[in-house]
C-alpha cells in the first residue's frame, strides 16, 4: 500500500507537496476575497437561497414550474430543459449525421460534393451565429393564420412548430419522440437493407427497441393512464392542440442538430475510410458479398474509430446547448443566470452550472468507457 503510494507520487515528493500547498494557498486567498466581497454586498454564501421563492417565469419546461416556486425547482426545470434538448439533439444529429456521412461516401459526385459543402459551411461559421440565424428565420415564418403546413397536421409558424401529440394524461407530451425516433431508425434500417442488403443486427436492434416501446405503452395503459392523441389545427389567431415546440426551442434544436450533424458526418466518413482497402479485398477474396463485408468486416472495425469521436461530439452538443441563453430558451445556464441576477448569488449559480455539466460529462464518459471496452480488440494481439 505504502510502496504503491510512493510510486504514484514519484520523484521530488516534497517539492510536489510544496506546489500543491501553493495551489491550495492561491485558491484559499481567492476564496477568502470572494467571501469578503460577498459579505460587503450583504450576501450569505451557501445554497440556502434555493428554497426561496423565485418570482420569475420560465417560458417552457418539462417539469411543472410556475413563478413563485422555489429557486431550486427553477434550476431543476432548467436542468430538465437542458437534458431534453441534449437528448433529442444527440438522437436527431446521429440520424442526420450518419445519413450525411454515408451520402458523402456515395459514388455520386453531386451528392458527395453537396454534403461536403454542407459540412464546410457549418464547420466554418460560429454555432452562435447559426443559432441567431435560425431564430431570425423563425421570425420570418408566417403568422399562425398563414402557417405552412404538411398534411394539415404539422404546422410551421412564427409562434413555433406544431406537431401531433401522442401521450398519456398526466405525463409529458413528448412521449411520441422515442416512437418517432424508432420509426426513423426502422426506416433507415429498411433503406439500408434495400440498398446494401445488410444489417441483420440493425433489424434485430430495431425490433427489440420497438418491442420495448410497445411494451412500455401497454404497461402505461394497464396501469391506468389514458392515451391521448391530438392533431393541431388552425383556429382564430393561433394554432391549437397538438404539441408545440416554441420558436426558441425549435431554433436551438435545429441549430444544434444541423451543426452537430456536420461533425458526425465527417466522423462516420473517416471511420469507414479508416478501414483499409485490404480488408475489403481479403473479404472479397473469401467470396463475401458487399453487404456482408460492410456488416461483418468493415462496420465493426469502423465502430472502434467512430464511437469515441461520437461520444465527444455528443458531449460537445450538450455543452453547446448552453448557447440557449443567447436565444432565450430557458436551459440550465439561462435559469442559473436569471437566478444569479435576482439573488446576487453569482458564485453559487455558476457552481451549479459547472456541477451539472461535470455530472453529465462524468456519466457519459463512464457509460462510454464500458461500451468501448465491449467493442475493443480482445486477445493477445492487442498493442
Amino acid at each position: 500500500m505504502f510502496a504503491r503510494a510512493v510510486s504514484w507520487i514519484g520523484p521530488f515528493p516534497f517539492r510536489q507537496a510544496g506546489l500543491l500547498l501553493g495551489v491550495i494557498a492561491i485558491f484559499w486567498f481567492l476564496g477568502n476575497n470572494t467571501l469578503s466581497t460577498m459579505e460587503r454586498a450583504g450576501l450569505t454564501p451557501g445554497f440556502s437561497f434555493l428554497s426561496q421563492r423565485a418570482n420569475f417565469e420560465i417560458g417552457e419546461s418539462v417539469i411543472a414550474y410556475a413563478a413563485g416556486d422555489s429557486y431550486g425547482r427553477a434550476i431543476l426545470a432548467g436542468i430538465a430543459n437542458t437534458a431534453k434538448v441534449a437528448a433529442l439533439g444527440c438522437l436527431l444529429a446521429t440520424l442526420l449525421g450518419v445519413a450525411l456521412g454515408v451520402a458523402r461516401l456515395s459514388g455520386n459526385p453531386l451528392l458527395s460534393r453537396l454534403v461536403q459543402a454542407y459540412v464546410e459551411i457549418l464547420r466554418g461559421t460560429p454555432l452562435l451565429l447559426q443559432l441567431f440565424l435560425w431564430s431570425s428565420l423563425f421570425q420570418h415564418f408566417p403568422a399562425p393564420r398563414n402557417a405552412s403546413s404538411l398534411f394539415e397536421s404539422i404546422f410551421v409558424s412564427n409562434r413555433g412548430v406544431f406537431v401531433p401529440s401522442f401521450g398519456f394524461d398526466g405525463l409529458p407530451a413528448t412521449l411520441w419522440i422515442p416512437g418517432f425516433a424508432l420509426v426513423l431508425l426502422g426506416g433507415w434500417t429498411i433503406a439500408r437493407k434495400m440498398f446494401f442488403g445488410t444489417t441483420q443486427y440493425g433489424l434485430k436492434m430495431t425490433a427489440l427497441l420497438l418491442a420495448l416501446f410497445v411494451a412500455s405503452i401497454l404497461a402505461l395503459k394497464l396501469t391506468g393512464f389514458t392515451p391521448t392523441t391530438e392533431i393541431p389545427a388552425k383556429g382564430g389567431f393561433n394554432i391549437r392542440g397538438g404539441l408545440s415546440l416554441s420558436p426558441e426551442f425549435a431554433a436551438l434544436l435545429i441549430g444544434l442538430v444541423v451543426n452537430a450533424s456536420a461533425t458526425i458526418a465527417e466522423i462516420v466518413r473517416s471511420g469507414i475510410q479508416s478501414v483499409r482497402a485490404g480488408q475489403w479485398e481479403a473479404a472479397r477474396a473469401l467470396g463475401m458479398k458487399p453487404g456482408q463485408i460492410m456488416r461483418l468486416i468493415v462496420f465493426p472495425q469502423a465502430l472502434r474509430v467512430i464511437m469515441p469521436l461520437m461520444t465527444s461530439s455528443y458531449l460537445d452538443l450538450t455543452k453547446n446547448s448552453s448557447l440557449a441563453v443567447a436565444i432565450g430558451f430557458p436551459d440550465i445556464v439561462s435559469v442559473a443566470n436569471t437566478t444569479a441576477n435576482t439573488t446576487g448569488q453569482v458564485l453559487e449559480a455558476i457552481a451549479l452550472i459547472m456541477a451539472v455539466y461535470l455530472g453529465i460529462n462524468l456519466a457519459v464518459s463512464a457509460f462510454m468507457n464500458v461500451y468501448n471496452r465491449k467493442i475493443a480488440l480482445k486477445g493477445a494481439l492487442v498493442r
Binding site: Q16, L20, T34, E120, T125, P126, L133, S136, K319
Partner: protein
C-alpha cells in the same frame, strides 16, 4: 468532363435516381435563396426601398452599416487605427503561415505586435485615448483569438508535460485543470472570468472587461491545446528519448532539442484547426456584451433607421467568418502535405 458526366448519370439506375433527387433538392433549396438574395435583392437604395412589399435581401443595409460591423463603437474619426490593426494582423498572419519564417523569433514578433496593437487601439503616445468599451468588430475578434492561442501556448505546454509526468501530484493537478475546463461549456468559463474573477481579486481591484474576457478565452483554449500537445508528445517514439539519453543529453535538453520539435511538428495541422475553433468560439463574447464581429453585426440591425435586417447582418458576418476558416482549413490541408513531404527529405 466525360468522367464527371458518367459519375452523375451512368453506373446503374440507382446512381441516376440519386442524381435526379439531389438536383431536385438543390433546386428546391437554391431557387428561393437566389431569388431572395440576388433577383429581389436591394443593392443601392435607402431603407424605404428595402421595406417594399416584395423586396428581397437588403444589401444596401450592409453597405450603410459596414463601418459599424467592422469596427463597432470605435470613434469614426479614429477608425484608421483599427483598420491599421486589421491590416497588420492579416499581414502578420500571412507571414506566419509560411514555414520558412518559423522560428522562436516569430513569437517575439507577435509579442511586440500585440504591444503595438494595444498602443494603437488604446491610444497612448499622443493619440487620443479610446476606452476598451468602445473597441469592437473584426479587429477584436481576430486579436482576441490570436492572443488566446499565443498566450495559451506556454500554459498548455506546461500542462501537457505535467500530465505526462511521473510525479503524481503534479499529474493530478494537470489532469484536473484540463478535464475541468474541457467538461464545462465556454460560457461557464467566460462567466467565471467576467463575474467571479473580480470578486476573487483583492479589495475591489477592477480588471478591464476585455482583459477578463481574454483570460477566459485563453484558459479555455489552453486546455484544448494541452491535449493536442500531449497527442504530439505521445507520437514521438520512446527510442528517441533513449537515443538522446545514450548521447548524454539531460532531460531538459532532450525535451527541447529532440522531443518537442518532433511533437509540435506532428500537431501543427491540429493547432491550425484549433485556431479556427477558437476564432469561431470567440463569437461567444457576444453573450457577455463585448462587441466582437458577431455582436456588432447584430447590433447594426437595431439602428432605428435600418431596423430588423438581422438575416442580412448574420449572413454578412457568416461570410467573413467562413472566408477566414475556409482559408485556414485549406492551409491546414496544404500544410499536412508539406510537412509529410519535407519529413522524407534527407
Amino acid at each position: 468532363m466525360q468522367k464527371a458526366i458518367a459519375g452523375l448519370f451512368l453506373h446503374g439506375p440507382w446512381n441516376l435516381a440519386i442524381t435526379v433527387v439531389t438536383l431536385a433538392f438543390l433546386a428546391w433549396i437554391a431557387i428561393p435563396i437566389i431569388r431572395w438574395a440576388i433577383l429581389d435583392g436591394v443593392w443601392t437604395a435607402g431603407p424605404q426601398a428595402c421595406a417594399a412589399e416584395n423586396a428581397g435581401a437588403c444589401w444596401a443595409f450592409i453597405g450603410a452599416k459596414l463601418r459599424f460591423i467592422l469596427f463597432a463603437f470605435y470613434p469614426p474619426d479614429q477608425q484608421w487605427r483599427p483598420a491599421l490593426v486589421l491590416a497588420g494582423l492579416v499581414l502578420l498572419l500571412t507571414l506566419s503561415a509560411i514555414p520558412c519564417f518559423w522560428s522562436v523569433r516569430l513569437a517575439g514578433v507577435w509579442f511586440f505586435a500585440f504591444i503595438a496593437i494595444w498602443i494603437l487601439m488604446a491610444g497612448t503616445l499622443g493619440l487620443p485615448r479610446v476606452s476598451t468599451n468602445q473597441w469592437g468588430g473584426l479587429p477584436i475578434t481576430l486579436a482576441v483569438s490570436i492572443a488566446a492561442l499565443v498566450l495559451a501556448f506556454p500554459l498548455a505546454l506546461v500542462m501537457a508535460l505535467a500530465r505526462q509526468s511521473k510525479m503524481g501530484i503534479i499529474r493530478t493537478l494537470a489532469v484536473g485543470y484540463i478535464e475541468l475546463l474541457r467538461a464545462v461549456p465556454m460560457i461557464a468559463v467566460l462567466y467565471i472570468a467576467m463575474l467571479i474573477l473580480p470578486m476573487a481579486l483583492p479589495g475591489g481591484s477592477m480588471l478591464d472587461k476585455l482583459l477578463r474576457a481574454q483570460i477566459g478565452v485563453t484558459s479555455f483554449a489552453s486546455a484544448y491545446l494541452a491535449e493536442i500537445i500531449r497527442a504530439g508528445l505521445q507520437a514521438v517514439p520512446h527510442g528517441q528519448d533513449e537515443a538522446a539519453a545514450a548521447l548524454g543529453l539531460t532531460r531538459i535538453h532532450t525535451l527541447r532539442l529532440i522531443v518537442l520539435p518532433q511533437a509540435l511538428r506532428a500537431v501543427i495541422p491540429a493547432i491550425v484547426n484549433l485556431s479556427v475553433g477558437i476564432l469561431l468560439n470567440t463569437s461567444l463574447l457576444a453573450v457577455i456584451g463585448i462587441y466582437d464581429l458577431l455582436n456588432a453585426a447584430r447590433a447594426s440591425a437595431t439602428d432605428p433607421q435600418w431596423l430588423g435586417f438581422y438575416t442580412e447582418a448574420y449572413i454578412f458576418s457568416a461570410v467573413v467568418y467562413f472566408a477566414i476558416s475556409f482559408l485556414a482549413s485549406r492551409y491546414s490541408l496544404w500544410l499536412e502535405g508539406f510537412l509529410k513531404t519535407s519529413q522524407h527529405r534527407p
